[in-house]
Structures are given as C-alpha cells and as structure tokens.
Point group: C2
Chain length 170, copies 2
C-alpha cells in the first residue's frame, strides 16, 4: 500500500510524474466536495474539463482543451468556455490574463485572488498567495481613493531549475 501524499498538490515546480496522477484525482475529489457544499453541479463535461486542466498541470488554452474533448465526439467552443466559466466561478481554476490560458487552482477551499509565477523557459507555473502583496496593493489603491475588488498579479521570469540551466549554458 502506498504512503499517503503529504506534499501539497499545489506546486507545479515540484509536482513529479510519479505523484501527478494522484494530484489530478485529488483535485477532482476536492472539486466534488466543494460543488456539493455549494449546491452546484459538477456535470460530466465540467468535471472532464477540470480533469484535462489538471492533467496538463500548466497553463492551457481553451482551444487546446477543445481539441482533446473532440477526441470523444463533436464539441464546439461554447461548451468549453461555459465549463471554464463555471469552474472559475467556483474558484476551481484561474484564468491567466497574460497567457489567455487557464490553470487549476491550488487552494480551491479558500476563495482568493491568484498570484502567479510563470517560467518563460519551461512554461511551468506556481501559484502563490502572499498576503503582503495583496495588502501592498490594497493599501496603494486606497491611497489613490480606489476600491480594489479584484487583483491580477502575474510575474514572468525563470524558475530555479531553468535559471541554473541558463547559467550553465550561457
């Protein structure tokens, strides 16, 4: 029998192939629970889209998802976008504005705004949730008399692994 998974499912910089199938199924289980609690329906399509998003475990475009869905029958764009809208509303996925792409939410239990570190080299992504950043933004907004309702924070750069490689090569 396997050891229970102790590491969080949330860090793509860390998620190894060996634990990956489990991080997908964990995300789906969590989603089932959350939807039940919220009295909303995680229909087969919605569940399948969430599964595909987690399987990639990195930013994935709507038409990429569409293509995969079409391997099991005819599907049109609105079907995908509706599922993505639903999943976003339930906080199960985030949209990455700078990539026109979507990614599974690391902490769907507690609603939050995503903050993202996106590696330009390997295209992997990590979600962080640093209250200092949120607070700094809120504070700065207030100073301008502005009421912040929704924050987008997306940071492009190099993850630890790729930075090392670049240094070795360059």
């Amino acid at each position: 029998m396997r050891e229970p998974i102790t590491e969080p499912i949330q860090d793509p910089f860390e998620c190894t192939p060996s634990v990956h199938p489990q991080c997908v199924s964990m995300a789906l289980e969590q989603a089932e629970m959350i939807c039940q609690r919220q009295h909303v329906r995680l229909t087969p399509i919605r569940r399948r889209v969430l599964e595909l998003v987690w399987q990639k475990h990195r930013p994935v475009g709507a038409y990429d998802l569409l293509e995969q869905l079409q391997q099991q029958g005819r599907v049109a764009p609105p079907t995908v976008y509706r599922a993505l809208d639903f999943l976003q509303q339930q906080g199960l996925i985030h949209r990455l504005e700078s990539l026109n792409a979507f990614v599974g939410c690391a902490q769907p239990q507690q609603p939050h705004q995503g903050q993202f570190l996106i590696c330009l080299s390997c295209r992997s992504l990590a979600e962080i949730a640093d209250p200092k950043i949120s607070r700094a933004i809120h504070h700065s907004a207030l100073t301008a008399g502005f009421t912040a309702l929704n924050q987008t924070v997306e940071v492009m750069g190099l993850c630890a692994g790729c930075r090392q490689k670049e240094q070795t090569n360059g």
Copy 2:
C-alpha cells in the same frame, strides 16, 4: 497667457478636458526626446498611434486605433501592431493584459513595470508605481527560487468618483 501646467500628465482620474490637449502634446514631445536619445525613429505612423492612444487617455484596443487610422487611408492590422510593439519597447505605452488594450505610459522617462487601477464603472485608469508592491512581489518570488523579470499588476475596482455615485444610487 496660460499658467504653466504644474500637475503631472499621468493621472487619468484627474485629467480634465481643459488640460487634455496639452497632456497629449506633452506626451508626444517627451516621446520625441526619448526616441532621439535612444537613436530610434518615431516615424509618422508610430507618432500618430501614440497620439491616438493619448487622445483617448484610457485603455484602447488595437482595432479601435486601426479604425481611426483608416479614416486617412487604407491601413491593415500589422501596421498598428507593429507601431504598438515599437511604442511598448520604448516604454511609451503599456499593454493591459486583462483588457487586451493599450494606454500611454505616465512616466516614460524611467523604465518601469506598470501597475494599474482600472475602474469597472467609468473604465478610466490610473497608473501607479508603488515600490512596495514591486518589492513584495520580488521578495515573494525569490522565496520560491524564482527570478522575476516582468511584473503584471492590474487591479479592477471603483475609482473614488464612481464609488460615491454607486453609494448614492444604491
């Protein structure tokens, strides 16, 4: 003779119709200077696009610009996008990822990442440059072993004026 303009050109929440023509021409003059210093060419098309961006003085889409350019002859999308790319490279405009739109840069003299407050009600926008936000992001990234090269910070909410109106009405 007019009083000299003491207020910065950068705050769209503040820019009144009376000073607006001047804030456009100031932005163009600054651009001329910057391009000269950088030994790059602010060609008529590039200059015109920058002018249109500043005339709107709020987030404006590429195809909106295209439409205006077409009033003086046939123009195709690549022309606009090339001009926008150039202006972005020179730090004269910013791209707003969450709106697929562009806006004149408030402080083109010193290169920086934009941080934006976007009013959901009146669609106006203010650019801020709060080092505390940048630093919080950098610090948080470093903690994750991530080298931040480029930050996107876009905050949706209500500007002071619109918030008051909402309260009065609601």
